[in-house]
Amino acid sequence: MSDKIRKIEGITKESTQAMIDDALAAYPEKGRKKRAPHLAPNDAASGCASVKSNKKTVPGVMSARGCAYAGAKGVVWGPIRDMVHVSHGPVGCGWYSWGTRRNLMSGITGVNNFAMQFTSDFQEKDIVYGGDKKLAVLLREAKELFPLAKGISVLSECPVGLIGDDINSVAKASSKELDIPIIPCNCEGFRGVSQSLGHHISNDTIRDYIIETREFAEPSSPYDIALIGDYNIGGDVWSAKSLLEEIGLNVKSVWTGDGELEKIAATHTVKLNLIHCYRSMNYMCKVMEEKYGIPWLEFNFFGPTKIRESLRAIGARFDQTIQDKVEMTIAKYEPIMQAIIDEYKPRLDGKKVMLLVGGLRPRHTIGAYEDLGMDCVGSGYEFAHTDDYDRTAPEMPEATVVYDDPSEYEFEKFAHALKPDLIGSGIKEKYVFQKMGIPFRQMHSWDYSGPYHGYNGFEIFARDVDMAVNSPTWKLVKAPF
């Protein structure tokens, strides 16, 4: 699909730019100047970003962005199931991110998975006298109470970096004392522009503290791969992994959905890194390529079209046995997918969707919507960089609006203008648009449904999109009096 340039009736560069200007009109001078470069009509053919990105958030505009801690604890570390993740600082950050990202985990909570909220609960005295002593005590308590934990992460919240604590040395000392990997991550929320720096700091921390400290017990095989950048939202990893195994590959470790510390540590021995969320994990793919010669391949498991493309691209990196299995798998699932499309497409054909998600899905899910006959009339990221926007240009129809870190004001204005049949974004946006009678699906958390990755994911995705767009409840919104 991404080769042919699609057009949306009524949407031109001019109409989009006019819509953008109308939105920018409300800004004070300085704000408008900062925001303008981040909003633009898509140039499908160019294959490169039509907007600026990864810039400091403009104060006071109601951005959807989170912080570095959210990128570190929420995105990268949280999903690793067999580690105790300590939110180091006051009680809030860990509490707000407790279980809200839906990175599901196998195992028994508190025994061999630690889907819980650990914190040093900084009080005034910790700010004044520093938290390092408390950290050391805390690490001992964690080790004692959770003996099956394979490691402990110490994830810094804002105050830690401001009061000059040295969690790196505490981690080092305690790691030796307790004979367990203790990983310090300086992901203070005030650092950087968004969650993105949190991903980057975490990738570096894996590079410095984890990779190459373990080896797989079983002998390696030519089909060993690692699934990078899948966080098991609603079970996505379980769906993607079973599909990769069906085409004959051994998924030796997953970064980091339902992740296991030791398998992440032994990933330097795989043959190929398959990366789904480019934004959050491209750093370590590049490191593993440089240091261990592991090639990496971006792939897309949203919707039958993209799945087919990806399976074949993956197959091409392996021998005939894998490629045969790829074709068998495609042949097996395509009729099922076609049946799904036949059931839902008639009710979704030509419907318009607008997306605003984090760093991957604003482009990666467009294929799945198009498989159902829907058109993406606007998309944008909270924390993407230029390389993301480059990849987005061919995925979106010509001249449709691209918005980088849009304010709620801008997003509302665009929605009023474009009148989408569905908006895919986050919990902070959901009820704003549902009040307007616009159907909505959370595309961060799959609105507590999923998985959406892989073939069984598409079945659930299609059902949910049809449910949202065609629910009779929307017909009740307009009162008859």
Binding site: Y27, P28, K30, K56, V58, P59, G60, M62, A64, R65, C67, A70, V91, G92, W95, Y96, G110, V111, N112, M116, Q117, F118, S120, F122, I127, L135, V137, L138, E141, A142, E144, L145, G161, L162, K172, G189, F190, R191, G192, S194, Q195, D208, Y209, I210, I211, E212, T213, E215, F216, A217, K291, Y409, G426, K428, Y431, V432, K435, M436, K478, A479
Partner: protein, 489 residues
């Protein structure tokens, strides 16, 4: 060795099922409970959030007011998403996105740019500024910053910008609620006190209450009384607004003029002493009329106290409709006492909710066996103990201050109870113990409309009795042997 830890490369050793089984049983033992309670530094599954969340709740309670987080943008998104998930409603709030440079130069520039943009885009009638960690650690002087903003006419002179210091590293969301509320009232009532003027109204401060049904219930009760009122920080509509095709960013809240004039009120009742101490003390010293601080009216006796206080303050008889309503609640209570009598509960939550749960349970002849507050106080402990001492059903009940939900798990696995009253966060302990969880507190992320059904007042009693008794009967129907499965319950 390419990693900094200097650890030699080990083969992966999978945890064995036996090990898992051993530890699985071990964490339910008395021995583990001792270790768990010996914790000094590690907090696990605490049952409270940090101050700014409470401040944001207050801000949403005033007409046209935009909550403004002076600090990191991530905090604002966390407070907003928490309120979104609990109320299933929008929670508009901005931050001035302080980051590394803020750490060095302070947050004035961020604040000014933030205020300017917020006013331009969202046209608030008031901006309530509160702080997250960064400005508190580096000591930003918000009084000066805001004064400078007005001087540099970044914002209109007359725009009211109350602010509160709400450091996350002490207290909880209920203390942030208090600080922000007193600051807003001070700002709005400044220069509004008029000798001899009496609005004839009751100022009702509901306290840090996340149940929109409670706000509607207070209004309905006062309407039955015929007592004119101003609710101070009224989120009843903000977080329970209609879906009619239009999005209204400021969907409700106490009218600013009413709030301003409240200083001339006939009487002020501050509900929830633990979430309104600063506010109440300031009101006592500055508001005309009478001032009373009362616990959340949960259960018949505490609702009686509230009703009688309103009657006393306004010299009114209790209307027949409310007497009748009381009678119907007592009828529900006496008709279903057999389903709750003697049943042991574990209860946890904010202090003002806890005193309510304990009174309600004791009234029903139920036993609040484990009472836990993850940020409690001596005062709270004494008040709870007094409630327990006043009833034979309080006998072997115990109070745990400053303990978390991992402590609670040890308690209920070693000293079992029949149910938990708390919020969504208790679901993991409830599942391990195989007992039901009644979600009367905050936050509730995993059920619908819990916040729409009041837990205060006589109707609150009927709602709690109905949910608890019917769940116990559900369990009996679902778990009894076939020969005990019967028509009558």
């Amino acid at each position: 060795m390419s990693n900094l830890l200097g650890l030699e490369v080990k083969k992966i050793v999978e945890t064995t099922p036996e090990e898992v089984e051993t530890v699985k049983n071990w964490i339910n033992t008395e021995e583990y409970k001792e270790k768990n309670f010996a914790r000094q530094a590690l907090v696990i599954n605490p049952a409270h959030a940090c101050q700014p969340l409470g401040a944001q709740l207050v801000a949403h309670g005033f007409e046209g007011t935009l909550p403004f987080v002076h600090g990191s943008q991530g905090c604002a998104s966390y407070y907003r998403s928490t309120l979104n998930r609990h109320f299933r409603e929008p929670a508009p709030a901005v931050s001035d996105a302080m980051s590394e440079d803020g750490a060095v130069f302070g947050g004035q520039n961020n604040l000014h740019e933030g205020l300017e943009n917020a006013v331009a885009l969202y046209k608030p009638k008031m901006i309530a500024v509160f702080t997250s960690c960064m400005p508190e650690v580096i000591g930003d002087d918000l009084t000066a910053f805001i004064k400078n903003a007005k001087q540099k006419s970044v914002v209109p002179k007359e725009l009211q910008i109350p602010y509160a210091n709400t450091p996350s590293f002490n207290g909880t969301h209920i203390h942030g609620y208090d600080s922000m509320l007193v600051s807003i009232l001070q700002t709005l009532t400044e220069g509004k006190q008029i000798e001899g003027r009496c609005t004839g109204k009751l100022n009702l401060i509901p306290g840090c209450d996340f149940n929109t049904g409670d706000y509607r219930e207070y209004k309905r009760i006062l309407k039955e009384f015929g007592v004119p009122y101003t609710i101070l920080a009224d989120i009843g509509d903000t977080f329970d607004s209609p879906c009619d095709g239009t999005y209204n960013i400021y969907a409700g809240g106490t009218k600013l003029d009413d709030a301003a004039d409240s200083i001339n009120g006939k009487a002020t009742i501050a509900i929830g002493p633990y979430s309104t101490p600063k506010t109440f003390n300031w009101v006592k010293d500055n508001y005309s009329g009478k001032h009373v601080s009362m616990p959340m009216p949960m259960g018949i006796e505490k609702t009686d106290a509230f009703i009688m206080k309103v009657a006393e303050l306004f010299g009114k008889e209790v209307p027949a409709s409310l007497k009748n309503e009381r009678g119907r609640a007592v009828d529900a209570v006496t008709d279903s006492h057999q389903y709750m009598h003697g049943k042991k509960f574990a209860v946890y939550g904010d202090p003002d909710y806890l005193t309510g749960y304990v009174s309600f349970l004791l009234e029903m002849g139920a036993r609040p066996h484990h009472i836990l507050c993850s940020r409690g106080s001596k005062k709270l402990e004494k008040e709870l103990q007094a409630l327990l001492d006043g009833s034979m059903y309080g006998k072997d009940c115990k109070i745990y201050m400053n303990k978390d939900l991992w402590h609670l798990r040890s308690l209920i696995m070693t000293d079992p109870v029949e149910a938990i009253i708390g919020d969504t966060h208790g679901k993991f302990a409830a599942r391990d113990a195989g007992i039901p969880l009644f979600r009367f507190g905050f936050p509730v992320f995993d059920r619908v409309n819990k916040h729409r059904y009041p837990i205060i007042g006589y109707q609150g009693v009927v709602n709690m009795v109905t949910e608890i008794c019917n769940k116990f009967i559900d369990i009996k129907d679902e778990t009894c042997e076939d020969r005990y499965f019967e028509m009558m319950r």
